[in-house]
């Protein structure tokens, strides 16, 4: 697929990258039809986010069309969807209270290391460490 990738401060390029695959049962692959540029994208563009590496794909607020779903996904092929900047698991305590930005599970466990020394307990919302 084609994707906007980061190569350095103020250096982003549209490259051909490997197509994504369904990895987890609730995954879906979305063909993007339009996208927004978020303020966070500008932080990445300006090179102030540690952990960013050359080739990383940018963009996290977009709309598009579902092209493939995992066996446990609630989406259907060809559905049109909007993706917000927060992602949440839908199953943790906070998701149940509609406090989606506090989701426990949406970021990988190995990316929750930094928040433990900072906040006293690990949490999902901070993922500055790339391992």
């Amino acid at each position: 697929m084609r994707a906007l990738t980061w190569h350095g401060t103020h250096d982003v390029r549209v490259d051909t990258v490997p197509d994504p695959q369904i990895v987890n049962p609730r995954d879906a692959i979305i063909e993007i039809t339009s996208t927004a540029i978020c303020g966070s994208d500008l932080h990445l563009y300006n090179g102030v986010i540690p952990g960013l590496m050359a080739g990383d794909i940018l963009g996290h607020e977009f709309m598009g069309r579902v092209v493939e779903v995992g066996p446990k996904s609630t989406l259907k092929k060809d559905q049109r969807v909007v993706v917000p900047f927060t992602i949440s698991c839908g199953a943790c305590y906070f998701s149940g209270k509609e406090q989606y930005s506090a989701c426990d599970n949406s970021n990988p466990a190995e990316k929750q290391d930094l928040s433990a020394p900072f906040y006293g307990h690990p949490m999902s919302g901070l993922s500055a460490i790339r391992t």
């Binding site: 049962p25 609730r26 698991c89 199953a91 599970n105 466990a109 929750q112 290391d113 690990p122």
Partner: protein, 244 residues
């Protein structure tokens, strides 16, 4: 002074040190008259302030120690627990699922490699003995044979290694109801003694690769798996996901 030392109720100090410091104001008044009596008062005042400060410091230390003995932070308790020469780590996680369901999944030990990165394989040997293969650096692995030493359904599983294992270890995992219907708190403790040979040093290196962080990640992955049925990954292709 008496206000500082005569408080046997053990309440948090109400800034007594600050109350003590104004006595040093005597230093200011010394310039006013400069008499020997005033100097003596200054000396007494300074001494009193020092004694007060040391008493307050000691009391605060005791309070901190008391608080830590009763902390609900498993890693903190493990750090402070007397463990002899063994290395002890503990972690806890709150999972939004019923305690019995979590216990049952964990008790089926063949499930553990699904969320424990270092556990490559688990094989039953009969009579509740299990053989484990644990990944080590440079493509090597270590072997562990364990037996369950205590089991309370829905509450606790304790285990220890058997002679012939590459590493001497024991541990337990406990399950208790979380407050306010938030599911269950799962706490895992592991103590281990690597042997004193070359393989032992390898094992030590392996485990000291941030054992506390490793243990916490494993519990977080257990939580993800039990709450959502999957373990979050930033890999967007299957081969990368398998590499971890």
């Amino acid at each position: 002074m008496s206000g500082m030392t005569g408080d046997p109720r053990g309440e948090p100090p109400r800034r007594p040190a600050r109350d003590g410091f104004p006595r040093q104001d005597g230093a200011g008044s010394r310039g006013d008259d400069g008499t020997p009596a005033a100097s003596l008062a200054v000396a007494l005042g300074a001494g009193a302030a020092l004694v007060a400060a040391s008493l307050v410091t000691r009391r605060r230390t005791r309070q901190r120690e008391r608080a830590l003995r009763h902390t609900d932070s498993a890693p903190e308790r493990a750090r402070r627990a007397p463990s002899g020469s063994a290395t002890l780590t503990a972690n806890a996680v709150t999972i939004n699922r019923p305690r019995d369901e979590l216990f049952a999944f964990w008790r089926a030990f063949e499930n553990l490699p699904a969320f424990m990165e270092n556990v490559l394989a688990a094989r039953p040997l009969g009579q509740d003995r299990w053989e484990w293969r644990i990944g080590a650096p440079a493509g090597r692995s270590v072997r562990l044979e364990t037996v369950v030493t205590d089991e309370r359904p829905g509450e606790r599983i304790a285990w220890r290694s058997l002679p012939g294992s590459d590493v001497e270890a024991e541990g337990d995992v406990t399950f208790r109801d979380a407050p306010a219907g938030r599911g269950a708190v799962v706490e895992a403790t592991v103590a281990y003694h690597p042997p004193a040979d070359e393989l032992g040093r390898l094992i030590a290196t392996l485990f000291q690769r941030e054992p506390q962080i490793q243990g916490r990640r494993e519990l977080r992955r257990f939580k993800m798996l039990m709450e959502t049925g999957e373990i979050a990954t930033s890999a967007n292709r299957r081969p990368e996901a398998q590499e971890g």
